[in-house]
């Protein structure tokens, strides 16, 4: 499955990437990270940390949200992707399963897979069905009728249809029952073992750290922590962040301003 020279190739790399939405929101600030060939790299971060923005920047879909890369660049095996339109990036082999599944609800499972790769050989389709047998069962069903977990599988399967070299997963376990999350995790591993590099964005830290070789933690658009997954998994900071045990005191009776009830 995996061509011999793959490891030799340079990987997906992000350098000093700064992204903002409109004039107002700076969502990413000089973020750098690497996805070495054949590895799983995970990006953790609270809501609004900028994970999805990072994914959008890599896949070239920022413009759909009024976002722009104001500095820094994204390269794949040395080639800059900054100016490439989304479809070109897909052609280079970087494919994303977006946050919130985003399956085409009015279409059948099969049609969704077609959109993923119109000219994909049967083998690819077969592989997807092997990974997600449930999709094979439901191939004629409208995607909107699938359960959340099934929709997530479809989203991943759809991405795989393009036979990606790098697979971008934005919160694949989002809103999934724990069991389902485990299944997804297993599949990600499997996909990776078949030679696809994975960039995994997760809020489910434990799961992500267990899967990944290397991890980054984004905080408000900046890389706060980075290191081998195992190490980060050990650090309390990460555990706290995600158990919501923070110690900053909220100043009650905030500021001096007060507001009285309105007797209109």
């Amino acid at each position: 499955m995996k061509p011999p020279d793959v490891r030799a190739q340079a990987a997906l790399s992000v350098r000093d990437l700064t992204v903002s939405y409109g004039r107002a929101v700076r969502a990413l600030h000089e973020v750098s990270l690497d996805v070495p060939q054949g590895e799983i790299v995970t990006v953790l971060g609270a809501n609004g940390a900028g994970k999805t923005t990072l994914m959008r920047a890599i896949s070239g879909t920022l413009r759909f949200h009024g976002g722009v890369v104001s500095s820094g660049k994204v390269t794949y095996s040395g080639v800059s992707l900054n100016t490439s339109p989304a479809h070109r990036i897909v052609e280079t082999g970087i494919v994303q399963a977006p946050e919130g599944r985003r399956v085409f609800g009015r279409m059948t499972v099969e049609e969704n897979l077609k959109v993923g790769g119109f000219h994909a050989p049967e083998s690819t389709k077969k592989r997807v069905f092997d990974l997600f047998p449930v999709l094979a069962e439901r191939r004629k069903q409208r995607a909107s009728l699938l359960s959340g977990g099934e929709q997530q599988m479809l989203a991943m399967g759809r991405a795989l249809m393009a036979r990606p070299k790098v697979l971008l997963l934005d919160e694949p376990t989002l809103g999934l029952a724990p069991l389902m999350a485990q299944t997804i995790a297993r599949t990600v591993k499997e996909i990776n073992e078949q030679g696809t590099s994975v960039l995994l964005v997760e809020q489910n830290a434990a799961l992500a750290l267990r899967l990944a070789d290397y991890a980054y933690v984004l905080d408000v658009g900046q890389v706060a922590l980075r290191g081998p997954a195992a190490e980060l998994a050990a650090s309390d900071e990460v555990r706290q962040r995600y158990l919501g045990i923070v110690d900053e005191q909220i100043p009650v009776a905030f500021g001096t301003r007060t507001l009285s009830r309105w007797e209109g």
């Binding site: 989304a86 479809h87 085409f104 790769g117 119109f118």
Partner: protein
């Protein structure tokens, strides 16, 4: 009795042509959520090219050219207006009115006062059966429309183009993420619409109508209600709507002596009356889908 039958058949064949035009609206709307008011002028354009070229190129050659030209202009509109304008969708629709005004003015100027024949093979031939007479062009219109629409429904269901189109219509960002070229899709939609307009033009200008002239584009005004009452985002809707309007017009015309209490000459009103009635019951047309907006 034969009169009713004749009116029904005529209505259907007329409706088939409206359906072709309505289909043009639908294809564009599905791909870009814009209603193309310049469709009327694209229609006139296609017809005009066919009419002026048929002597030299022969009907088929001329029609082919007409189709290509109309498609090209459609693509141009997409490229110049749709890709660049940032405005609200209905404002862009108004802009297409502007395009329509300009294009129609130019074509009317070229057409001047002449009535052009399109040199179609059917001429004024008719087919007769059981006392019913119907122009061959009408039969041809029925067949062509049926074929084209069937073709489209299938293309939409099975071909990469059709599936991509639906994907874009449903969620353009994700479609792009899957490697679909949005620009190409919406442009292709405009091309297709232009081509359809050109084809429709032939049947509108051919016998029993004397030929193509500046008023030919006005039929588009009858295709609006067709597209709307069927549901702007539904191909089936376009078909049903077209036929419904065709029948309405034909019957209202044929039985106007029995409808005098409504005043004579209901030809233009009836289609809209039917449409409004239907909109009152189904605000997004018979087959249209109301999209739930999220907050």
């Amino acid at each position: 009795m034969t009169r009713l039958l004749e009116l029904l058949i005529n209505g259907l064949s007329l409706g088939a042509v409206y359906a072709l035009i309505a289909l043009g609206f639908v294809v564009i709307f599905k791909a870009t959520e814009v209603v193309n008011f310049a469709h009327a002028s694209l229609l006139l354009l296609g017809g005009y090219v066919t009419a002026v070229l048929h002597d030299d190129f022969g009907f088929v050659g001329a029609l082919a050219t007409g189709i290509v030209v109309a498609a090209a202009v459609g693509a141009l509109v997409e490229f110049v207006l749709l890709r660049r304008a940032k405005a609200r969708r209905d404002v862009i629709a108004i802009a297409t009115i502007g395009i329509d005004i300009v294009l129609t003015a130019e074509l009317s100027r070229r057409l001047g006062t002449s009535v052009l024949a399109l040199g179609d093979p059917w001429g004024d031939k008719v087919v007769q059966f059981g006392g019913i007479t119907i122009a061959q062009t009408r039969v041809a219109a029925l067949v062509v429309a049926a074929v084209l629409i069937a073709l489209f429904l299938t293309a939409f269901k099975y071909t990469p183009w059709g599936i991509s189109m639906r994907a874009v219509a449903e969620d353009s960002e994700t479609a792009a993420l899957m490697g679909i070229r949005l620009g190409r899709i919406s442009m292709s939609a405009w091309c297709v619409a232009g081509a359809l307009a050109a084809v429709a033009a032939v049947f509108i200008a051919a016998f029993p109508t004397p030929g193509l002239d500046r008023t030919t584009s006005l039929v588009a005004l009858k295709a609006f209600p067709a597209a709307i009452l069927g549901g702007l985002d539904s191909m089936t809707g376009a078909l049903v709507g077209g036929l419904l309007i065709g029948l309405t017009e034909s019957l209202v015309g044929g039985y106007q002596n029995d409808l005098t209490f409504l005043g004579r000459g209901l030809g233009d009103v009836a289609p809209y009356a039917v449409m409004i009635a239907i909109l009152l019951i189904r605000p997004s047309g018979l087959f249209g889908t109301r999209e739930v907006s999220r907050v």
